[in-house]
Subunit: 455 residues, 2 copies
């Protein structure tokens, strides 16, 4: 175990590839991506998952441990001591000249990730190994960085993170079908009443926004919907900020700032992974991301949106009218053809939105907004919340909601009620936008969909 040391003493390949000067007698650990043998030496391409790039390692026959070299196939793990020296090759700045070679773990020939292309479907079957590929390494590094960027964005602006509950007896009405939670072989309810997996932390989030002023949730949510599409999963992470003393205008501002900030952060910190994905997954990725942050989003009311559809002269598959809401093809026309940039549509008809949204003075619309992104569609949905006790109480009745589960929620309007607003964002949709990956199953470490709960 002599070469396995304190993690912070151990150089990652990412650090080595960006060195300014040569280093002597360092230890590098990683997995073999490929090996080329000649009589006197072998070339290894070594990857440790810290970045998409491999470190080239030259191992001369005859150095200590080199007799194990031929067992170090693609997929094997090795620990190599050597000197980092400028590479004469044109593909890399540095290479490692090995002085001691150590095989940690071999990889038999049935190792599934041999150096060749694999279908995404096959890789989903081996979700425990796919993070060892360039594609999934890039996706999950971006997912990780974006997680940090989300927290930093909000906390820099005075927002507090709140861990709203996963187990719940309320259902954020209309958000979707819920899973129920039981204790196997027990008849009594563990919680004294039926409990479910949350579909949204918004309602609980509002209780904290009306105390700490600015909060955000960032946690898993669930839908028990039997839909097998490339955009739906039974388990996914949601980000839900909630802001006291804020109206719909402030909500739209925050949503736009948020999306641009996370994209800029990804472009800055994950440049190599984005470059890789732009080359091999989606050739428009970089242009799309740079386009989003280039200028302010368009903003139009729902009524104006209907007029633009009318004026377009286009024939759409789905009809639209005031009560219908917008279909995906309508949203695409607006942001991809008409504005050709991200577009926020606001003031939706009351009839297509949930009970908690702030009713506008026109009696027909609510202060709701959706952010539409070219090539992606709706990515953020939000609203100002109804803060009038009477109006909300009446809305609960009109929507035929079981009032007893919402007493605490309604009570926020009884004691020191404030105008407040928030939005929700599916984190996986954001990762799909950031990576250009088109199937939600490929941006979740172990995706859960109908019939699939392996690993």
């Amino acid at each position: 175990m002599g070469q396995i040391c304190h993690v912070t003493d151990m150089k990652l390949i990412k650090e080595l590839l960006s060195q300014d000067e040569a280093l002597e007698n360092i230890v590098v650990n990683g997995w073999v991506r490929s090996r080329r043998d000649s009589k006197a030496f072998s070339f290894f391409a070594l990857n440790d998952g810290s970045c998409v790039g491999n470190l080239q390692v030259i191992v001369d026959a005859g150095i200590p441990g080199s007799e194990k070299m031929t067992e170090a196939n693609t997929g094997a793990s090795v620990s190599i001591t050597g000197n980092l020296v400028p590479s004469p090759g044109k593909n890399q700045k540095w290479e490692l000249q090995a002085v001691e070679f150590r095989l940690l773990g071999g990889a038999p020939e049935d190792f599934p990730l041999q150096k060749k292309g694999h279908t995404r479907e096959f890789l989903r079957e081996i979700a425990h190994l796919r993070p060892r590929t360039n594609l999934f390494g890039a996706v999950f590094r971006i997912r990780s960085r974006a997680t940090l960027a989300v927290h930093q964005f909000f906390q820099e602006r005075g927002f507090h993170n709140v861990h709203t509950p996963i187990l719940t007896t309320s259902d954020c009405e209309g958000a979707g079908e819920m899973f129920q939670v039981v204790v196997p072989d027990k008849k009594e309810e563990f919680f004294g009443e039926p409990a479910f997996l949350t579909v949204s932390g918004q309602l609980e989030g509002e209780t904290f926004a009306t105390a700490l002023s600015r909060i955000y949730t960032f946690g898993p949510t669930f839908r028990a919907e039997n839909s097998n599409t490339s955009r739906h999963a039974a388990e996914f992470w949601m980000i839900e900020p909630e802001i006291a003393f804020c109206d719909l205008k402030g909500d739209m501002d925050l949503a736009e700032d948020f999306l641009c900030a996370v994209i800029r952060d990804t472009l800055d910190y994950c440049a190599e992974d984005i470059e890789f994905l732009n080359k091999f997954v989606d050739k428009e990725l970089l242009a799309r991301l740079e386009g989003i942050v280039a200028e302010p989003f368009a903003r139009i009311s729902y009524r104006e949106a209907l007029e633009l559809l009318e004026k377009s002269g286009k024939s759409f598959e789905y009809e639209y009218n005031f009560e219908s809401g917008l279909q995906s093809e309508h949203e695409r026309y607006l942001c991809e053809e008409y504005f050709q940039k991200p577009t926020i549509v606001f003031d939706y008809p009351k009839s297509v939105k949930p009970f908690y949204m702030k009713q506008n003075d026109d009696g027909e619309t609510v202060a709701a907004m959706d952010v539409l992104v070219p090539g992606i569609g709706e990515i953020i949905g939000g609203s100002q919340r109804e803060d009038d006790l009477e109006v909300l109480t009446k809305a609960v009745e009109e929507h035929e909601i079981d009032a007893k589960h919402y007493e605490w929620y309604v009570e926020l309007r009884k004691y020191g009620s404030v105008p407040h607003a928030g939005f929700g964002l599916g984190f996986e949709r954001l990762i799909m936008l950031l990576t250009g990956v088109s199937n939600i199953r490929d941006v979740i470490p172990f995706p859960r969909t109908p019939g699939n709960c392996k690993f």
Copy 2:
């Protein structure tokens, strides 16, 4: 809505209280903590949850909106335009001289949080309102900051965050009783097989550590245990780093670094909240936290620990021997009396630990470790993982585990196996340590315990 503006234009009370210079014509929003009236003016103590401190506001009778002042009771929400000026009072540097007063939402006299003491039990009953108290404001601001500190600690050290699944068909053997997830009124299993709520993300985390080298999880976990103690909840958040190319020594180093870094971050960024908690909740809090980071932790093997207990001459309630493990009273003796500082005990007997831990050469112990903290007890548990395919396969058999659910896990040892290690930390235990709050129900926004799933 004229006073409700873009959040980043709006000053939080925290920012105002730390101003360097006076400000004219600003808008401050918040909730009334108390009001004192005289003939010519009223004093308000205004809080917006951004910090424990209140802003003193002086509202002269006769300014626009002041006729609503008498409705602005404790709990009411207000929006006040005014000038931030040096305060002649000795309790604060700044105060707001109001020029316009606006009542946003009143608070009837039955508002439960009148200015008097409330029991923690009562406050749990109104979990939707308790974040408006000084105590819970402080606790949840610290919880939020600690969340960011956790992410920053790991990402600065090259770790990638992984969202391991909540829904699972494996059970991280022996970690605890599991909740099952069903679809109401459906006979068929949604996932084709019984699915449960995770008790630990470790096993899935290992798949990513053996690809990206350094990872950590940070998400909710669940236990269906019918235990009503001050330290157990059915839903809580766990942090589980996993490090490839790392042995138990590196694991202990990381655990110690981690704990000290999060404590230092809290002392730096939440100084006022810590001061408040030190005054009103636990008078030893500050000293305890500063003590933990003051010097290196003690480290002893389990065998040495037994010898120290023997030599102590103390009579313990529970007997101990090599096979018994340590009881809480033994752990307390070691860290509170003998070492009087955080203590890491390592190399535990194989028989008291799960199947996946690395077996030591003595044949009797495994490379496991627990971090014990004075006044708290065990806060971190970790181990090096068994990376030998044959040994692990045998351990699965010996523990009578259903091997078919762990094929993927065992396979990590077949392809490029590496020494790796990790640990787990209950985030709520950490928050209890950071705040001095002694009941887990008071560090979780909406705690879930047997019989309790309200809100």
